[in-house]
Amino acid sequence: MSAPFRIDLRDVSTFPTRRDEAWRRSDLRRALPNPVEPAPDLARPSEGGPFAAVRAEETTFANGRLPDGGVFARLRLTDAPHRLRFVTSAEQGGWQAGVDVVVPAGVAATLLETYEGQGGYVGSVLLSFSLEAGASLERIVLMDEPSEAVSISASTVALGASARFAQTVVATGARLQRHETHLMHPGEAVTVRMDGLYLLSEARHADLTTVVVHEGGGGTSQVCKGVVTDRARAVFQGQIVVKPGADGTDARMRHDALLLSDTAEVDAKPELEIYADDVSCAHGNTVGALDDEALFYIASRGVPEAQARALLMQGFIGEVAERIAHEGAREVLAAFAAKRLEALT
């Protein structure tokens, strides 16, 4: 089965390079030529963070440490939303942490996961999700980090029968920022949503990588949107594998990116590998500039050009937030994206 790299920040030989296909477009060894020293301890940040408006339980790693000094958390989620925060403040140095998340049978959970910080730190998190039969999880990830940071978040997801897993990752990039998800889809009425949004400026780099392996039928739906400007670089790698016998699979993948400058770059690698017969799969991928004809249409109705561009871009990215079920989280993300978009243009 597909799995994330086991990265040990103290040992550069464990850092993937361009020679590793899954990391070909995000060369970690090049970003980190030397072993990473541990970041100093950090005072406990105050509660809240970007999703402070949502009433929730909270687990916070501060420079990779839990309040008791540990680096590994086990979460057993309930119907109440839960904030999982990775807060870093370090000019250099790094941390590694691990989280096991269990959603018990019948529970409908919401996880609000945020990556926040200051400085040129290195953060690496390995998460493991396990949804029991009939459990449902909506996972909202916001990676809003400084331009000097290196940040890697890798997850594996295992699903019980009739589980529902929905993920939305919003990334604004960093020196190197990567969010990676490996999901084993057992079929059996399981549904999966695997969405993403990246909004990149300056020389930022964001990499959204997903691997969904259908062992059985069932649905997977993926919508990833991105807007990239300046010299920023986005990587989208979306892989859906439909194994032999996974009949009845319904998999849909879309990736659409807007390039606002000639020096920005988007590397898109959508992959559908189908080894079963009775499946319904579709994927679409576009990278381009704003549609001049649409801009003229909007302007011809009286909207000034700058406002027309903003309207078109809001519409372009809007679908990602709209697909979020949790109303409070949806509002936070929509507002965040709108503000970020404004800064991009």
Binding site: F296, R301, E319
Partner: protein
């Protein structure tokens, strides 16, 4: 009202399409522009609305004495120009309601008028949508996304009804419409006729003019107006085709 003098327009910097077009549309009148394919009909519409790539190489266009060609498209709209597109654009993710309200308030702002509040706006939209037999819930969806050809044209009429332009340019509004949709759209246009408003109805076929009766009919061929007349000219064209009249003018 609308005055076009000896207009020459090239598209994409090379191809001359309009070659000395002159036209006057007084306030309150509806003029039809008919012509064969490739005559420059759509170019005229796009030029008046200010589309990039349509370069005026000579001539002038004024609306109530004011030079239109110097203005960007949004300012022309604020002055009252409205081009109804042959193929209205789909704008995913921007609800039709948001789109129209943004346009309306942008125009009002440009004219120094106060913005229209949501309650009044919604009241007006509901009334107009009902008279166009449009499902109001459709207006909450992305503009024109998943709309049929007829629904898109009705959406155009709804926009003009709300924006209340002074100069209406209808570019092949009948294309892709069945008879029922055509009737509804034409009724919408006819309801807009007023002594203060001029209309330019661009069409290849006479059919639309059975529903929107013009005061004058002009034949556009090879980038110029080659014949003008009353409504009967459209019937002559329908009967005899464009060949004779275009040949005579040449």
């Amino acid at each position: 009202m609308l005055s076009i003098q000896n207009l020459h327009v090239s598209v994409d910097e090379t191809k001359p399409i309009l070659r000395g077009l002159s036209l006057h549309v007084p306030a309150g009148e509806v003029h039809a522009i008919m012509g064969p394919n490739g005559a420059g009909k759509s170019t005229l519409g796009y030029t008046l609305a200010g589309r990039a790539g349509y370069d005026v190489t000579s001539g002038s266009v004024t609306l109530d004495g004011e030079d239109l060609m110097a203005l960007p498209p949004d300012q022309r709209a604020a002055k009252g120009v409205f081009l109804s597109f042959q193929y209205p654009m789909e704008i995913p993710g921007v609800p039709a309601l948001t789109f129209v309200r943004t346009a309306l308030n942008a125009q009002r702002k440009a004219r120094g008028e106060p913005e229209m509040g949501a309650p009044e706006f919604l009241k007006r939209v509901r009334a107009e949508a009902a008279s166009l037999k449009m499902d109001f819930d459709m207006l909450r969806r992305g503009l024109n996304v998943g709309f049929s050809g007829g629904e898109k044209k009705r959406m155009e009429i709804l926009q003009m009804a709300l924006l209340q332009p002074r100069l209406l340019i209808l570019d092949e509004t009948d294309s892709g419409l069945d008879i029922d949709a055509l009737r509804i759209v034409a009724e919408g246009v006819n309801a807009m006729r007023s002594p203060e408003r001029s209309m330019l109805v661009i069409t290849h076929y006479q059919r639309l003019l059975d529903y929107i009766e013009p005061d004058r009919v002009h034949v556009l061929a090879a980038g110029r107006i080659v014949a003008s007349g009353g409504p009967e000219l459209a019937l002559t064209l329908e009967r005899e085709g464009y060949d004779r009249i275009v040949a005579e003018a040449a």
